[in-house]
Every structure is written in C-alpha cells, then in structure tokens.
C-alpha cells in the first residue's frame, strides 16, 4: 500500500499546539461564561482557582498566537521566498473559490440522493471554512481578548464601553468556536461514517493511495498527470505515531463531547424548566 504525504511535520505539530492551546482556552474560559452554573464553580476551583485559570488562559492564548504567527510566517515564506502563488489561488489554495460553492451545492444534492458525490480536490469547502474560521476567530477573540487583558492600555485610545462590547463578543465568539470545533469539525473530519471513529491524517500526515483516490479524486488525478504524485510517496509513519494519535484523539474527542454536553444541558435546562413550570 503506497502512502502519500498530505501534511508535513511542521503542520502536524502546529495542529497539536493549536489543539492543546484551544482546549486550554476553552476549558479555562467557559467557567466565566457560565459562571452561574454549579459546574462552572467546580471547574474553576479544580483548575486551581480563578487566578490560576486566568494564567492558564493567557498562556494558552500566547501559544495560540504563536501558532497563528508561525503559520502566517510559513505562508509568507511560500509567497516571498518560494514565489509559490498557488497558496493564494488555485486547487492547492485555502482561499474560497467559485468551485467551492459548486462543490457545496453538489454535495448537498448528493446528501439528498440527487446526484453523484462531488470530486474534491486538495482542500474541500468545509475544510476551508474551518481554516478561515481560525482567521476570523483570531481577529475577533484574539483582538477582544488582548483588549480585556490590557484594558488600561487600550483605554488610552478607546472609550471604556468598548470593553463591554469586547467582553460580549469574546464570550459569544468563543462559544461559537468551541461549539463548532467540538461538534461540526469533529463530525466532518472524524465522526462521519466514512472516517468513524477518527481520521489520523492530521497526526500521521499520510494518506493511502486508495483514500486519496476515493476522497480527493481531482487532486489524485492532478498530481498523477503532473507527474508529482511519486514525489509525495512516503514510508509509513514511525510505529508510535498511530497509537499516540489514537490516544490523543480519544482524549480530545472525549473532552469535546463532555464540554458540548455540559453547554447544551446548561443552555437547554432553563428553557425546559420554563416550559414545564412557567414562572408565575
């Protein structure tokens, strides 16, 4: 079975750092957002208290900012040094393109049994959405987070009520990010029937020839036609990688589902209670 490289070591480790810092941010931030729930207080105390949770939150934020900066630097290098403008547009670019809209429509048609499955290329529209969401999230959550971290500094140029807005969107956007990653991203990449229970590609960096042909036929054909497929052939990942990936994915998926379950129960319980026993 021939294996081809999809993600190199740099991107794989970047994803590990992204994952760890994201969970760190989520777990230390959620108690504040749901501060009136009993579990929030328990979690805040379990993390070592509000002060320690805050330190962990800001440390994770710095790691995530570093991850983001490292990725931007890499994209910059490809553009400036390697003169690889395929990063900006084309089949191996993350930029959303007209093709993605067509792919989405055809994918939904396939869902409904009204057409064949679209032939995807290197990056699908839902992968691009995940990717672009990080940029949006970094801007919104990162920007508002920095404001709330250094309010007296930002108050030199901004009126104080901006921190009220920053506080609101920081929390709401974080809820969106956590909810999205722990449900939609988990389903799209790991839990969907084709991949269940996990897709180890982000940890091993390798896809089998069969998988590449099935999942991303356009990329497969493009690489083969260009004679570049063989350049991507790699040996198997070191023996420890796959078991380690399974353990990490199991832990992260478990954390994700517990967090989502807690959020859903917290948000739904008051609604159910009002329906069952309306407040007089």
């Amino acid at each position: 079975m021939t294996l081809y490289r999809r993600f190199d070591a740099f991107d794989r480790w970047l994803h590990v750092a992204l994952m760890v810092s994201f969970i760190g941010l989520g777990v230390t931030g959620l108690p504040l957002l749901f501060s009136q729930s009993g579990w929030a207080s328990v979690l805040a105390h379990a993390l070592g208290g509000f002060h320690i949770a805050g330190l962990l939150h800001r440390t994770s934020a710095l790691v995530l900012i570093a991850v983001f900066a490292a990725h931007l630097a890499r994209v910059g290098k490809r553009l400036v040094v390697d003169r690889d403008f395929g990063v900006l547009w084309g089949p191996s670019s993350m930029t959303p393109q007209p093709r993605d809209v067509i792919d989405l429509i055809n994918h939904v048609k396939w869902f409904l049994g009204r057409g064949p499955r679209p032939r995807f290329d290197r990056y699908t529209y839902w992968e691009k959405f995940d990717y672009m969401a990080v940029f949006w999230g970094m801007g919104i959550i990162g920007g508002s987070g920095l404001m709330l971290w250094f309010p007296t500094v930002f108050a030199r140029v901004l009126p104080g009520w901006v921190f009220n807005v920053a506080s609101l969107i920081h929390g709401e956007e974080a809820l969106l990010a956590v909810g999205f990653i722990f449900t939609i991203h988990f389903f799209n990449t790991h839990m969907r029937p084709e991949k269940f229970p996990m897709d180890p590609v982000i940890f091993t960096g390798r896809v089998s020839e069969e998988e590449l042909r099935e999942e991303r036929p356009d990329e497969y054909e493009r690489l083969r036609a260009g004679g570049r497929l063989e350049q991507l052939a790699v040996g198997p990942a070191p023996a420890w990688v796959l078991p380690a990936a399974r353990v990490v994915a199991a832990v992260v998926l478990a954390i994700g589902f517990v967090v989502v379950a807690i959020i859903v129960v917290t948000l739904v319980t008051p609604i159910v209670l009002t329906l069952v026993a309306p407040i007089p």
Binding site: H107, V153, I169, E172, I184, P193
Partner: protein, 334 residues
C-alpha cells in the same frame, strides 16, 4: 438605711415562711412566685450590698413579651431555693434553654467568639440588644430590635459605623419610613454575625443587595466582576467595593464613590492607571437595553444571528451528511 431595713425585714419574713413550710409533712418545696421575688425586687430603690440596683419594674416586666412567665423560669437556679435572701451571684440566665436555635446561631457568631473565646467583655450577649426584664418583640415599635431601632441598638457599640450609616441613603430611606430600607441586621444578620472580611460573608452579601436592587444584581452577574464573584472568588469587585458599605450615596451625590467625579479614583483602587476613558466601562452593562448602549445591543444581536446561522447551516449539513453517509455505507456492505 431604710432600704436595708426593708430588705432585712422581708428576708426574715420569707425565711420564717419557708421554715414553716419545711415543717409540713414532706411537701415538695414550692418555687417562689413572682410576688415573692417582687417583695424585694419590686422596690424601685432596692440595692445590693455593693450598691448596685436590683430593682425590677413589675409593670414593665408584665408588659414585656416574657410577662406571663415566672421569674424562676429564667432564673432557674432559684426555683429550688428556700433560703432568702438568695446569694448575690446567681447562675447566668440561659436564654438558649428556650431559644435554642437562636442560641446556636449566636454561639457561632463573631459576638459570641469575642465574648467567650477572646474575653472581650464589651461584646454583646442576648441582653445587650434585647434588654432584660423589658424584652419586647421586634414587631413592637418600642423594641430595641424593631427595624427602625436596630441601627441605634447596634450603634451603641458601633458608633463610628452608625455615623456613616446615618449619613447614607439607606438610613435616610429608613427614617422616611421605607420598610424596605436595609438596617444592620439585613446584611450582617441578627444572630449569625460574621467578620466582614471573610470570603464567605463577602460572597453572600451581594445577594442581600440584590434582593432589592434586582436589575443591578442581574447586570452585575452578567459582567466580568459578577461572573468571577459568582464563581466564588472575592478578588474582583462586588457591590460594596465600588459603592461602599455603610455610607452609600446615589450616583448623583458628589459624596458617592461612583459619582462621576470620583469614579476614576474608585476604579483606580484595583485598576492602576484607570483614566476617564477607562471608567466609561459599564460594570452593569445590559445587552438587551438599546438605550443604554446601542453598540452593545447590536453586537449582541449580531452574535446571536452569527451563532444561529453557523450552527443552523452546519447542523443541517451534518444531519444530511450523516444520514447519506450511513446509507452509503450500508449500500457498500451489501
């Protein structure tokens, strides 16, 4: 001199009565009735050998909430006494023998700790607040513990606090006859009084402010200070940290810690470098109030739509994909 004489006479009379009773065949000694006690204590000028008064105003006692009770119900060690006059030093009256729930609250309070553990004699026990032979229910307007009189009662010791309290808006409301105006016991409780610097007390007292200031409490809990407080930490500001505790004034009053002129100083106590711009932060922001901050209002609306849109779209996408994916897999197996 005359008093002494009367006392001695009465005592002799009592003793001889008791002696006569003692001769009766084995009848249990009858506890002294209130009239027996008042025979001596009913005299307004009655004094002990050391000159301290021992007078009990019979009228006031009978009018008190304990009026129907016998002297020896409280002064229990005198119930079996047959020899009069009784010794100068009696057992302490144990109010908790009836009021046991209040007694146990008091025993855990800072007042009991001060009096019984730290040996601080001026710390109050029951009688210091409730009186002795003239105890009135708190529903009696003349009672020391009737709501309007509580600040005066506490202020007998906490004089400095009383002065601050009297100046504040709460005391003014109380004097105006507003029954909702808080008095000492509303925040500090009547019997379970704790040190005001403990975390447990500081965390619980915000709910007390919130029992009247409902909207302020809600918006407090919806913003950073309140969120951290709700998690159980006192590191950030709660009500009293910004508004003061005893001398609270309305925002429009220049003496208020949250008056526009003093806000920078008040916020600056925690936020070093707080500026006039910084204090435009609203610690009681309300995302549903358009008039208060329209940017916040629309930001909240936008975020709601964004969350609904993203989860709605991808939720549907996921459900469709899941059903199609499962179908495709079972078809492939066949």
């Amino acid at each position: 001199m005359w008093n002494r004489f009367v006392l001695t006479l009465a005592a002799v009379g009592l003793v001889s009565t008791a002696a006569a009773a003692g001769q009766a065949p084995q009848a249990a000694p009858k506890p002294p009735a209130n009239e027996d006690c008042l025979a001596c204590h009913g005299d307004a000028d009655a004094k002990r050998a050391d000159g301290r008064t021992i007078a009990v105003d019979a009228k006031r006692f009978e009018g008190s909430t304990h009026g129907p009770m016998a002297c020896v119900d409280c002064h229990a060690d005198l119930a079996k006494l047959t020899e009069f006059p009784h010794p100068d030093t009696l057992a302490k009256v144990a109010c908790a023998s009836c009021h046991d729930d209040i007694g146990s609250k008091y025993r855990d309070s800072i007042h009991a700790w001060a009096k019984e553990k730290a040996g601080l004699n001026v710390a109050p026990s029951c009688t210091d607040c409730h009186g002795r032979h003239d105890i009135a229910k708190k529903t009696d307007p003349a009672s020391r513990v009737a709501r309007p009189n509580i600040p005066t009662t506490c202020g007998r010791c906490h004089e400095g606090i009383k002065q601050k309290y009297d100046a504040g808006i709460h005391a003014i409301a109380l004097k105006r006859g507003d029954s909702r105006a808080p008095v000492c016991a509303d925040c500090h409780t009547a019997h379970s009084i704790q040190r005001a610097d403990t975390d447990a007390w500081r965390l619980s007292v915000t709910a007390e402010c919130g029992s009247c200031h409902i909207e302020s409490a809600r918006t407090f809990l919806d913003t950073f200070h309140g969120q951290v407080t709700a998690l159980g930490y006192t590191r950030v500001a709660a009500c009293a940290d910004c508004h003061g505790a005893h001398d609270i004034f309305p925002k429009s009053d220049a003496r208020s810690t949250v008056s526009p002129a003093r806000l920078v100083t008040t916020c600056g106590r925690c936020h070093a470098g707080a500026s006039a711009s910084f204090v435009q932060y609203d610690p009681h922001a309300n995302r549903t109030d358009k008039a208060l901050n329209s940017t916040l209002y629309y930001a909240a609306k936008f975020m709601n739509l964004l969350l609904l849109g993203v989860f709605g779209f991808f939720g549907l996408h996921t459900v469709l994909w899941l059903s199609r994916g499962l179908k495709a897999r079972s078809e492939a197996r066949r």
